[in-house]
Symmetry: C2
Subunit: 453 residues, 2 copies
């Protein structure tokens, strides 16, 4: 029997150095986080830098988790056979949540926080739609209203993500749109704007600031978000122990960092804190070559959003004006990365690698043909790394145990697979571009002193 964990694991006290503070973009000094409570949930702000290692999961959240948790740990025996590898491959199947990915793990916790705080409504921005769906699902459960800003191009490409969110009573706004001042300004500038992560984020913040009882929920990057996903790795530890196995490598895709942290943090604890790991386990994050922050970016302070609305976070970044090409992997199209992970990467305690979407879709197809489940294109990046590692094992004869996070399914991403099957997909659809400075007017909405534009 596998138990749904009773506590989340918080890596903050176990980082090799203190997590660098968030800086005020104007003064570049430690930011006062209090004003942010008008935008974000109080518990989120209060616990971001928490030094408590084990944080109790509220019963209500644990009960909600039981709708789909514990998730299965599956031996990918047919993939192994296909690769003819001596490696053993295991995956944690997070695709079984009703919204289709690991994102429901933190959506549950944040919606519960909202309920406890007396917030009426959570709003957010979404790209691929996994996060927006998860938040809609959790808000419905905890009785909150939900608003989701989804970049118009994504919204039109995946109309049924919108339907799914509406089934859970969320309002879904193609972005830019007329619902917010930011959206109206953008529409005036460019009536046919396809939207972007940044614009959707601006609209979500604008909406939050202009509606009483509303807060902005965040789907990745922050330490508290990553922590909520550690139920994945904590379950995997129980499951591997029952099989008398231990991973030589833990692999996951990396956008903001939440699905990967979810699976590897508990093993990091084994290795570096409890120091009782039976193996010298390696941790490998897989990003997209369309947005190679971890492998080609710089470790420095930067804004987390292209509009410079956010404070400054120390992280691996390509610069907040970097706009990744429009690959079919919305969840990995990010210019920055989780500060906790960035610190570990800088200290060389974890590793990173990048693959392009053609490589990822090929891996996704192999996985679906051997193990059945169609992986989300984000997850397919991790699978590509798993396949490469398993093939190396074939050459060396090593019987490595590889564990990876199948963080979501791709049943809403079949237009991408269709493009791949028809031979029309390229390694990267277009070159990256640089964001133009815009939206200066919006800064007056923001609680920071107006940053330089």
């Amino acid at each position: 029997m596998v138990e749904i964990p009773r506590k989340w694991y918080n890596i903050n006290p176990d980082l090799p150095k203190p997590l660098p503070p968030i800086l005020d973009p104007k003064t570049r000094e430690r930011a006062d986080l209090e004003p942010l409570k008008r935008i974000y949930l109080e518990a989120a702000i209060n616990s971001e830098f928490s030094q408590e290692r084990w944080i109790e999961i509220p019963d209500e959240v644990r009960d909600f988790y039981s709708l789909w948790r514990p998730t299965k740990l599956v031996r990918a025996a047919y993939l192994e056979k296909f690769l003819d590898t001596p490696a053993k491959i295991y995956y944690k199947n997070e695709s079984v949540s009703p919204s289709g990915s690991h994102k429901a793990n933190t959506a549950a916790a944040q919606s519960y926080w909202g309920l406890k705080q007396g917030v009426e409504r959570l709003v957010t921005n979404t790209t691929a739609g996994q996060w927006g769906s998860a938040l809609a699902f959790a808000c419905k459960h905890f009785g909150l209203k939900c608003g989701v800003y989804m970049a118009r191009s994504n919204y039109e490409q995946k109309p049924y993500r919108g339907t799914l969110m509406r089934m859970w009573d969320a309002e879904v706004y193609p972005s830019p749109g007329k619902h917010t001042k930011s959206g109206r300004i953008m529409l005036k500038k460019d009536p046919k704007s396809p939207g972007s992560i940044g614009i959707a984020k601006s609209e979500a913040i604008d909406d939050t600031l202009t509606h009483e009882g509303t807060r902005h929920a965040v789907g990745s990057v922050m330490s508290y978000v990553l922590r909520h996903n550690t139920v994945i790795g904590l379950e995997a530890q129980q499951q591997m122990e029952q099989l008398d196995e231990y991973p030589d490598m833990v692999i996951g895709c990396f956008g903001g960092g939440s699905s990967f942290a979810g699976i590897f943090w508990p093993f990091y604890y084994d290795k570096f804190v409890r120091k009782q790991a039976p193996k010298d386990t390696r941790f490998l994050a897989v990003e997209s070559t369309a947005s190679p922050r971890l492998t080609k970016g710089q470790y420095r302070y930067d804004h987390s959003d292209p509009m410079k609305f956010s404070a400054l976070f120390k992280m691996y970044t390509l610069g907040h004006t970097f706009v990744p090409p429009p690959v079919h992997t919305g969840g990995l199209r990010v210019h920055g990365s989780a500060p906790t992970f960035s610190l570990l990467l800088h200290e060389k305690l974890v590793e990173a690698i990048a693959y392009n979407q053609l490589e990822a879709y090929e891996a996704g197809l192999i996985f679906s043909q051997t193990e059945g489940i169609v992986p989300a294109p984000e997850a397919a990046h991790a699978i590509k790394a798993v396949i490469d590692e398993a093939r190396r094992c074939k050459k060396t004869g090593e019987k490595k145990v590889i564990l990876f996070n199948l963080c979501g399914h791709g049943y809403f991403d079949l237009h991408g697979y269709e493009e791949y099957l028809s031979g029309k997909m390229t390694a990267s659809d277009a070159k990256a571009s640089v964001m133009k400075k815009t939206l200066g007017e919006l800064y007056k909405l923001y609680p920071w002193d107006k940053p330089e534009v």
Copy 2:
């Protein structure tokens, strides 16, 4: 721990009367089934009337099942809470198979049979796409080629079902199409034909008969197909025993009959054969009012296909020329029903009820809002019956234990939910119609003596 069953349960020896024989459509005498082996798999024909109660599941099939089995038995606690009912509701979650429904249970067995027989390719027809996807998935696993004829209107409404099947290397043919003589004839008559179950079936048989090494796989109705699904009920029995529960009612939706038989047959065995059931369990099949064979049809011999290609089966039927209105529930739009189930219904050992699609979609929405998973519209019919029963329990105070089969998810059916949410759905989109006599030319392809047209 729940074990994947090692044997399927075959109801044939335990029916209250012998299963009526299949009749030759011309002579109306017991049909010689041997010629059918050119169309269907040998093992299928040989085992349809098997009197062996427990049939061993081959290791290869059981290993394949382990990709998604055992499936969870879930207490629908939040649905109970929403309904404020003293009833306990459990569902068996068959939606987690990679192809999205219970159909993979028999697809696995039939593909394995094909492999053993030395068949190179299986072809079939599909409506909602759940069956075609399952067969594509299983054929890929067992190394067979696969061809799927999908009515053009369904194919166009759900393009990603086609993508999914192609990911598993199946060829998917919108029907009618140019791939078969039948299709070309139909296209000539009506170049814009939306297709139908019957036309797709004709094309699949035409294809089978004109390609060496090809056989026609069947997704429901036949006793052997239903039997392959008993892994569902056999697992549920183990799971309920571990919870110290036993169902007062077992409920499932009813198209051809495979998902419902899959869950209730093992409980039927408990009640009527082993006679050790702790309760006088009722078995309720839920059909669509668009196709009310069980509640308004006649128990008599009829063809299973509108073209009269098939032999005669004794079953509840609305007549083989009955064409159900185009409701959003492809899987329940059938004029006939499984002969095994029809016999049980005629003997009053099981019950049936019909709901329209508006009632079903409302129930599906309630389920997704309480339990998360979006049910396939077919499964939503069962949920409507569960909700009604639970509401009756609220009135009477009875603490009934209700078990139902969540036979598939609705993530490829969101266009239907979108129509429901937008208020555009009607109880039934159109009136039923009567099939015109067509395709006389094709009868010469058929192994029977040419039946009267």
